[in-house]
Symmetry: C2
Subunit: 312 residues, 2 copies
């Protein structure tokens, strides 16, 4: 399913010589993931995950791998990239930028419970603290400028009432400044399918390929919009409260963050509404992606706009 | 046994706030290790080993922790130090330099089999390759200058025949130069009790506190002198051959190394004969150590001097 690029045993055996990981025992494609090709690689030393990047270039990959290495070194649960004998985390394999990372246990969950939401909030706050000492910088490629530009191309395809809602919300967001909120390294895509759980514990955050420097609270809002959302699209109060309690057990929100919170939930909804609308109306844009229902985030935005209580 | 410095639950709980590791669940002293104090630390995120350094200072500790972090990042089996929110691997706890590292599975073995010797040789070679990109430098505090100086104080305490042997060997070693042999990062103390085994696999090299820059072949000789040695003090041919085969599967020895090998085995024997003699004749020198029989290494040196075949 997600093996877009095939790697032969011989190619793998030769490429493994770059590493201190022993000899190849088994190479097995992983049928998960949307954008990249992944394999389980078992060597005489242990088990690793191989990723071949289908979109990112060899120049773009190191930021994400260095970030995962930094976070892993700080004890944040995520895959640890393995450096090769040139001290690089990535090099070409089968013509694609490729890396090896440690293999985590755990599985993603389709519906979270309150303990899991607490754990995700807690680990996210730990990730934000650990990110403080990460020296590299990355602008958010899916920030407000991107929504604005992208939405302008989408309005004409959308039903009038939805277009009006998106246009109005983007205008509301543009009229607010969040410069006084704590910034740092954010995951920016911490949905349930990007977290491996081991029961109620976090086995690891994965898929850091939207990570960047942005407002920390925005990351909390993105996570809450997915983790606390039920199948019917509504936000469950207990799950939302648990996620925020977990986060604040490590990093209590500032007064400015508490004030900005309702709008931030809406900003996080816009970001994914816009990208899903883009995938929906322009499926042939060349990106390797599966179309998901954009309406979920339109309805979530609407609900956030009418909400009176925000779990704080 | 090896808890020289006690840490209370409250001290630990407060110190853990420096890290992204969650809340303290359990703190338990470890009855192993000779020089430092070790605890198992279980938090809501996982299990770690706490080390309180009884001899090294806060200025001396980072070299060893950065080395372990570098090697771990390259997939060499060893504990991975955890960085705190100031991006440091060590800080004071109960008045001692202290660090947290990942908890490895496995146990040391009292007698190795051939498969284990192969695995140790192989991982040691991988460690030597991975060490090539480690940027820090450390002179060997237990090198030839140290033997020479230390032995000079020991001769008068030793039986005449032993003193003559040690004096002669040190002179022989001094008359040879090894400048053309490959140098790099060496463990310098890779005895069986410094390797955790998981069956025939290496779970991890531990106790890197003699690690330094020196001749790579010297590290192989130190390991062989312990791993291939039987209870009666003799070297087992099959174990020695296996260790060397494992090493050369990753890094074949050069012609110069093959030529130097017999002398290097003797150099490695001197180093431990001298330090054990020092512990034996000066037990009250203030070092926290247990006296081990020095004679083992005197007899091993004698055997190496008479040996005709060196397993290469």
């Amino acid at each position: 399913m997600s093996v877009y690029t095939s790697v032969s045993q011989d190619e793998m055996r030769a490429w493994l010589q770059r590493y201190a990981l022993g000899e190849l025992v088994e190479l097995k494609g992983i049928a998960a993931g949307v954008t990249n090709t992944n394999y389980f690689v078992t060597t005489t030393h242990g088990r690793y995950v191989l990723t071949l990047f289908e979109v990112l270039t060899l120049e773009e990959v190191p930021y994400f791998l260095k970030l995962k290495s930094h976070l892993s070194r700080h004890g944040v649960a995520c895959p640890a990239p393995i450096a090769d004998h040139t001290d690089s985390f990535a090099s070409l394999l089968a013509g694609k930028p490729a890396c090896l990372v440690s293999c985590l246990s755990g599985q993603d969950v389709s519906q979270a419970n309150a303990a899991q939401c607490f754990a995700v909030g807690e680990m996210l706050a730990q990730m934000h603290l650990a990110g403080n000492t990460f020296p590299l910088r990355m602008a958010n490629p899916r920030g407000p400028a991107w929504w604005h530009r992208t939405a302008a191309e989408l309005y004409r395809h959308m039903p009038a009432d939805e277009a009006a809602l998106l246009r109005d919300e983007i205008a509301v967001q543009a009229s607010h400044r969040f410069d006084d909120l704590p910034h740092g390294v954010v995951h920016a895509d911490l949905f349930k399918d990007n977290v491996l759980m081991d029961g109620d514990k976090i086995a690891g955050f994965i898929d850091f390929y939207y990570a960047c420097n942005d407002i920390l609270l925005y990351d909390v809002a993105i996570a809450l919009n997915d983790w606390a959302r039920l199948d019917d699209g509504s936000i469950d109060d207990a799950l939302a409260t648990a996620l925020l309690a977990g986060y604040q057990a490590v990093r209590p929100l500032t007064a400015a963050e508490i004030e900005a919170w309702p709008l931030m939930l809406r900003a996080a909804a816009i970001r994914f509404w816009t990208s899903r609308l883009l995938d929906f109306y322009r499926p042939a844009s060349g990106e390797l992606t599966f179309t998901k229902d954009p309406g979920v985030f339109g309805r979530l935005l609407q609900a956030h706009r009418q909400r009176q209580q925000f779990w704080l």
